[in-house]
């Protein structure tokens, strides 16, 4: 978990009903492309709220995580309340509400991968990166996270970096895999 430097910064992150909605300048926060994409998602559903997850995922592509302004902007474009968007953003594992590294490593720790050596593989990752699960390397390059079954059990142990899935990863291959991501 990230530790906030001061309490004020922490308080600003917590969105509650008591807190008045901070209206942001949508044009300043979201690019035209992002706004177009959100409007495109809204056409897929009878209700604009349904596009919230698609929108958050799309917005997240820019920085790797979603900040408060972006959540507010998405809520304004969709025409729903900020806590509603915040509720969706915090519910799903792969919407990040705090800074992550440029690349997120997701190590599958479900039963098939576990039996095929996920733990020792995770140790290699932790040693090479010098971090534990849930942490980001000091240079901001990698974040290491566990994930439930990737559905790649026939190629266990399996892992995912950004949008690439790797299977049958041996401990010797870790360095080579990491090298591909700068």
């Amino acid at each position: 978990m990230m530790i906030f430097k001061d309490k004020a910064a922490q308080a600003a992150r917590i969105v509650s009903d008591k807190q008045p909605h901070i209206h942001v300048n949508v044009e300043a926060v979201l690019t035209e492309k992002e706004r177009d994409a959100i409007h495109e998602f809204m056409h897929h559903y009878p209700d604009s709220r349904a596009a919230s997850l698609d929108s958050l995922k799309h917005v997240q592509k820019r920085n790797g995580w979603v900040d408060d302004d972006q959540v507010n902007a998405v809520a304004q474009v969709l025409g729903i309340s900020v806590p509603d968007v915040e509720g969706v953003a915090t519910f799903y594992n792969r919407i990040y509400r705090q800074p992550v590294g440029r690349h997120v490593i997701l190590l599958c720790d479900s039963i098939a991968c576990y039996l095929m050596g996920n733990e020792s593989l995770a140790d290699v990752f932790k040693r090479q990166l010098g971090i534990q699960y849930g942490q980001t390397t000091p240079d901001g390059r990698f974040t290491l996270l566990p994930i439930c079954c990737l559905g790649n059990c026939d190629k266990a142990p399996s892992l995912m970096i950004d949008e690439d899935t790797y299977g049958l990863v041996s401990e010797a291959q870790v360095a080579g895999v990491l090298e591909q991501y700068v």
Binding site: L53, K57, F91, R94, I111, C149, G151, N152
Partner: protein, 340 residues
């Protein structure tokens, strides 16, 4: 506690019920009790022996690439090509043939055929798909219009050790799309969503490409193949939460809410997505509809009773099984085994 002998006996029963020439395999479940584990291990070893014997005969051919439409209704096309992503290739392999036949029939008739075939839900519960569909309100002449209905494909495959849907979506996306169009016709839905888990990047890409191809060919959109049926299909990708695979949680997630399950009743068939009648079916269930739709119509004209027996046998016997764990040569096989 299950007696290991009982388990073995069940395995033998399953073997007795097999069709001639079908592949034999046994699901090696994660048995908690030692006795169960031992029995399962023996059964798996036995199955592996048979499988191994088969593989040596057909060198370098994965087991799922070595079947006919009769023995491997879902994966037989993979015996002709490594993957069937192109719509022309799919059509040349009897693709969209079942859909064309079904569109010529009334919705009620299609529902009836699938009901008679006892096509069981492949999400795990095994609830007959035909009965699920029959609970959805249908438009009747003289009665007011029921309004929008939704068909949702549950592709949020997240159960540890499960990857059957991944194969079907990555290699045979058109089969799922054909199944969904066919089912949308049977239940009168105009909009469909494939609720895909976010980690299946390739599946999302292949499905979206396949949807575009199907649209260009007139299988999706307005007045499909001149039948008067309209159907729009969208891929909705999730962002990782195990609970989204639960039917009502999936609907909440689709609506853009936190994916907490809803209380039942009302059942989704009456009030599902956006309060409208909704059918949620697993990928494999939907994939199972077209081959049956294709085959059963041919047989139905000739000998209805034979058809019922044949199709019932198929739908209850065939399933998609995955073997994991130190099994290198045959990671996926469509094995004949009695469904629990």
């Amino acid at each position: 506690m299950t007696d290991p002998n009982d388990l073995k006996k069940e395995g033998n029963d399953a073997k007795d019920g097999l069709l001639d020439g079908s592949a034999v395999s046994v699901v090696a479940g994660m048995a908690v009790a030692k006795a169960e584990a031992k029995a399962a291990e023996e059964a798996a070893a036995k199955a592996a022996k048979i499988e191994a014997a088969k593989v040596t005969k057909t060198t370098a051919t994965p087991i799922h690439c070595n079947g006919s439409a009769e023995t491997h209704p879902l994966t037989w096309r993979l015996s002709q090509a490594d993957e069937v992503l192109d719509i022309d290739l799919y059509e040349s392999l009897e693709g969209y043939a079942g859909l064309k036949k079904a569109l010529a029939m009334t919705s009620a008739y299609v529902q009836g055929v699938v009901k008679d075939a006892v096509l069981r839900g492949r999400g795990g519960a095994g609830f007959p798909a035909g009965i699920k569909w029959s609970l959805i309100p249908m438009n009747k002449e003289g009665a007011p219009d029921v309004g929008p209905k939704y068909l949702v494909c549950n592709a949020d495959e997240m159960e540890p050790g499960t990857f059957k849907d991944r194969l079907l979506m990555e290699k045979l996306p058109h089969q799922l799309i054909e199944g969904m169009i066919l089912v949308s016709h049977a239940i009168g839905a105009q909009t469909g969503y494939i609720f895909l888990r976010g980690e299946y990047i390739l599946a999302a890409k292949n499905l979206n490409a396949a949807i575009d191809q199907a649209k260009a060919k007139g299988y999706l959109g307005e007045n499909i193949l001149g039948s008067g049926h309209n159907f729009e299909l969208h891929v909705h990708t999730g962002a990782g939460r195990y609970i989204c695979g639960e039917e009502t949680a999936l609907i909440n997630s689709l609506e853009g809410r936190r994916a907490n399950p809803r209380t039942k009743p009302p059942f989704p068939q009456i009030s599902g997505a956006w309060g409208k009648p909704t059918i949620v079916n697993n990928v494999e269930t939907l994939c199972n509809v077209p081959p049956k739709g294709c085959r059963m119509v041919v047989v139905a004209m000739r000998e209805p009773r034979f058809m019922a027996r044949q199709v019932r046998l198929n739908s209850q016997v065939y399933g998609n099984y995955q073997l994991v764990q130190r099994v290198v040569k045959f990671s996926r096989s469509q094995a004949a085994c009695r469904m629990a």
